[in-house]
Symmetry: C2
Subunit: 157 residues, 2 copies
DNA sequence: TTTTTAGTTTTTTAATTTGAGAACTAAAAA
DNA sequence: TTTTTAGTTCTCAAATTAAAAAACTAAAAA
């Protein structure tokens, strides 16, 4: 008997679009579809087989993708007593941490570009100036984040 | 006779690290190495064969990667009269446009998530609230960009 | 104790990506 | 006109990635 979740065509299309977006940002197709499903599905906690059958994935693809997503902090699961299954769900509530992560990336690039800059000759002035500017802007953005969060929280009230 | 540019070991390592970073953000290895070379190399304008031989790439890999990078707006070239070669260089000066591009992506995701939100049931309150928050924060960040640029430009003077 | 459940791991296959090599082309030079 | 230069394009092989199928495992249920 099928465990698949019933979805409207619109929901299926949204899962594909969101899935493709996640693929573009480095996830495997299966992982991308799973986070997308867990974002779009009206039922927010889905079992292994519900995910597997809704997306027509094999057990291995499902297992590997779920574990990948858990290690990325994109997904976690809860259990219900008297039920051995795990119910997986999106960690959308951790969006602040996810954002922090992506801002951390900016800092890492800035650090790398700083090393490049230190290695560059002094002639190539214009080039060095541009490089200095990107680095400076990246660091500036990063410094402004806390203030931005604060401002956002305030306007949110 | 070899056209390869002489690089120190440090420069070679920086090219690899920067290349890997570009790979992670979706470029092919060859494209990643080429932008990286054009960022690290003390000579900022390099001919096709200088790139090819410095990075030990085939002609096809070099040609395809360069054209990819030009279509992405990451690289362009200049010519010198009496010299048929094209001299390729990093478009690092266009970093503002590149940044704008990546902020545009945030907006696109926000739009997509907005569509998801409109499709969600009204129960799943907490989930919807989180989704609403991410979207709101993304849009907020996007709105703040011009002011951030302005502030950065001012502190830069 | 045996069976079932809920996954995990291993093996194999299919698809995609990447880039080498060689043939090709258009313009310039000889 | 022939040759050379500066790439481009095509064909194919190697490497990588993705996922299916099937064997396996640990815990719970019967």
């Amino acid at each position: 008997m099928s465990e698949a979740i019933k979805l409207t065509d619109d929901q299926k299309r949204l899962i594909e679009r969101l899935g493709v977006y996640h693929e573009k940002s480095g996830m495997s197709p299966a992982s991308g579809r799973i986070v997308a499903l867990l974002t779009v599905s009206p039922v927010v906690e889905l079992s292994f087989d519900q995910i597997r059958e809704t997306l027509n994935l094999s057990k291995s693809a499902t297992s590997n993708a779920i574990n990948m997503l858990m290690s990325m902090g994109k997904v976690d699961y809860i259990t219900h007593s008297g039920d051995r299954k795990r119910y997986f769900r999106s960690k959308i509530g951790s969006w602040r941490e996810a954002m922090k992560q992506s801002f951390q990336n900016i800092t890492n690039v800035a650090d790398l570009l700083e090393e490049v800059l230190e290695n560059r000759p002094n002639d190539t002035e214009k080039f060095n100036k541009n490089l200095t500017e990107v680095i400076s802007f990246m660091r500036f953005i990063n410094n402004e984040i806390p203030a931005l969060y604060k401002k956002w929280e305030e306007q949110e009230e």
